[in-house]
């Protein structure tokens, strides 16, 4: 019982849930200085830095970045993979944990899904703009009968990316929207302000909670979850193919798919914590996103972190075991080259730092968890940096080795997208229920009504 209560703290009723969650949105007075300042800064990046960068990029060509031959892929692809990775937590939490009947997911899935959508948006910008001519890339990458009588080339991992990422985005969006419909209805009915009423009524589409609807709704929701699970796994697998399929030393590693997926989850949960912790503090959601949740997420971070770390070690092992002169040269380069600091920092961020989460104390210490998440987020970016440009700097023919030095525009675009992400997240928190109301009620009902199966469920939850 005590166990269970930790999923929802304070003695909540259906009505109180509505208030706790709904008022964040309906009572706009709750958004105070912290929200405004953060949002203000974010919008500078989202509405000024990012557009400016893109304009200059399109005007000049990608020469404004640091890319060169041999380093054809620099920051843009690093950031792309980083964002996609972050975008994985959402659907993973909603889908996989749903299938695993992890009720603790209920209070964070909506939030995580939103994060997914926006992260994938940010990620999507990079492949499009890194050609320097998005107008061409945009329509030549889509298969449709054209007057040139030519088609995309389906053997290319980039083509797979196009399908994987767009599918992932679409499905996540649908999943997210379906989840929102009943809550829109709630807000519609709760709202007093006429404008708000209509604003929520339209997306609610006339939801009235009929049991027939609930019946089909639950079927669909469950199957969607079932579909999303392999989707989530496939997307980052396919992203990892961009590298694993090539013959570039440091890229053609068979371990990439699993360890990219693990990395994605790793990064994703880090980002969820990074955002959830302040939000729950800010909007009095402590009762719904409890220490229990944070504890579990920390555990998942620890697990995936270990998988990723294992991946790093495997890379080194391959490099040594293959006996390939090129591979060993690459390892030398990572260990001692001019960018060695990036490699060792990566090892610290993703390998060493998370180990503190072994201790339950640390897992329940908000500042520590938050800091670790922050470190991990940086670490995951470094991982992509180490894999992508650093591998490209070394070649089969030493004559073509070159350094890669990012420029101002590399960074401005990166921070621009971060700004965009935060910008969107804050809008979301302000105008949409950041916790699934009806699922919380369902949970409350289950917890309150019959305890027997519930404690099992929670038991399952612990033993995940």
């Amino acid at each position: 019982m005590a166990e269970n209560q930790q999923l929802i703290e304070g003695n909540q009723t259906y009505a109180s849930l509505d208030t706790v969650i709904g008022d964040v949105v309906l009572d706009q007075r709750r958004h105070k200085l912290p929200w405004l300042t953060t949002f203000g800064i974010a919008s500078i990046f989202a509405l000024f830095v990012l557009p400016l960068t893109l304009a200059w990029l399109l005007y000049q060509g990608i020469g404004v970045w640091g890319n060169n031959i041999p380093v054809g892929w620099g920051f843009p692809i690093v950031n792309f993979v980083w964002w996609i990775g972050i975008g994985h937590a959402g659907t993973l939490i909603s889908a996989i944990l749903l299938l695993l009947r992890q009720q603790w997911r209920n209070s964070i899935n909506r939030f995580a899904e939103a994060m997914t959508i926006f992260a994938v948006m940010c990620a999507g910008m990079y492949p499009l703009f890194h050609t320097g001519r998005p107008w061409v890339a945009a329509y030549w990458l889509l298969p449709y009968p054209n007057i040139m009588a030519v088609w995309p080339q389906f053997r290319s991992p980039l083509m797979w990316d196009v399908f994987a990422v767009s599918t992932y985005f679409t499905v996540s969006l649908v999943f997210w929207f379906l989840g929102l419909v009943p809550d829109f209805a709630t807000l519609r009915d709760k709202a007093t302000n006429k404008f708000a009423k209509y604003a929520y009524a339209i997306p609610a589409m006339g939801w009235r909670g009929s049991h027939r609807h609930w019946h089909r709704y639950e079927q669909a929701y469950l199957i969607l979850a079932g579909l999303s699970t392999p989707l989530v796994l496939s997307v980052h697998t396919i992203v990892s193919y961009d590298f694993a399929v090539s013959i570039v030393p440091g890229w053609n590693v068979t371990v990439f798919p699993p360890y990219f997926v693990a990395g994605a989850v790793f990064a994703g949960f880090a980002m969820v914590l990074l955002l959830a912790i302040p939000v729950r503090a800010l909007y009095g959601l402590k009762d719904l996103i409890t220490m229990r949740h944070i504890d579990w997420m920390a555990k998942i971070m620890l697990t995936t972190g270990l998988i990723v770390f294992y991946g790093y070690n495997l890379e080194v092992f391959y490099g040594w075991f293959s006996g390939e002169k090129v591979e060993t040269a690459l390892m030398q380069w990572r260990f001692y080259g001019p960018y060695a600091w990036a490699y060792w920092l990566l090892i610290f961020c993703n390998g060493i730092a998370p180990q503190i989460l072994w201790s339950p104390k640390a897992r329940r210490n908000i500042p520590i968890v938050w800091t670790v998440s922050f470190i991990v987020t940086i670490g995951m970016w470094l991982e992509r940096f180490v894999i992508i440009p650093m591998s490209l700097m070394r070649n089969y023919l030493p004559s073509s080795d070159r350094m890669f030095i990012p420029t101002f525009w590399d960074f401005s675009m990166f921070f621009g997208t971060i700004g965009f992400f935060i910008f969107m997240m804050f809008l979301f928190v302000r105008f949409m229920p950041s916790i699934t109301i009806f699922e919380m009620k369902d949970l409350l009902y289950k917890l309150g009504a019959d305890k027997k199966p519930q404690s099992d469920a929670v038991g399952a939850g612990e033993a995940h």
Binding site: P143, V150, A164, L178, D189, R212, H215, L227, S228
Partner: protein, 184 residues
Amino acid sequence: MSHAPIAPKIYGMVAEFETPDQLVHAASRAKEFGYTSIDGHSPFPIHGMSEATGFKCNLVPWIFLVGGILGGLTGIALESYVSILDLPLEIGGKPLFSLPSFFPIMYECTILFSALAGAIGMMALNGFPRPYHPIFDCPGFERASQDRFFLAIEADDPLYSEIETRRFLAGLEPINISVVEEEE
């Protein structure tokens, strides 16, 4: 429009309950009593309602399945047509039909089509979007999406009658009972 005032069309009679369990109990009672067009309304899915009202509909999974199959076929068909028939190119010495490279896209198409089909199908089956519904006229119904549970017995039910139905519902100790009219 005719001159004689016509009696407003009745949608049905709605009873409001405190708890989910009451609603389920009421629903099953109504079923036993013989009512067929019953509709329960709750802020969250209540397991047992469908059984209680004897509502069955398993179309949704089939829609997902068909969508998925179609998607997969579309994917592989597109790739094969393009790579073998319409634009046969030697790409890095790979065979024209290189299944391993075609698989990912086929796979993604499967999921995409299936998901869209399912989601849209579900909405269609539920008749959404439907911003207007007579039951919204039911007093206090806004709480149906918050913390109250409603059982509606629709007027088109053969057993429906102002008096009988009201008496029956009253027997279930609802918070209140109201008759809902339907706008033309």
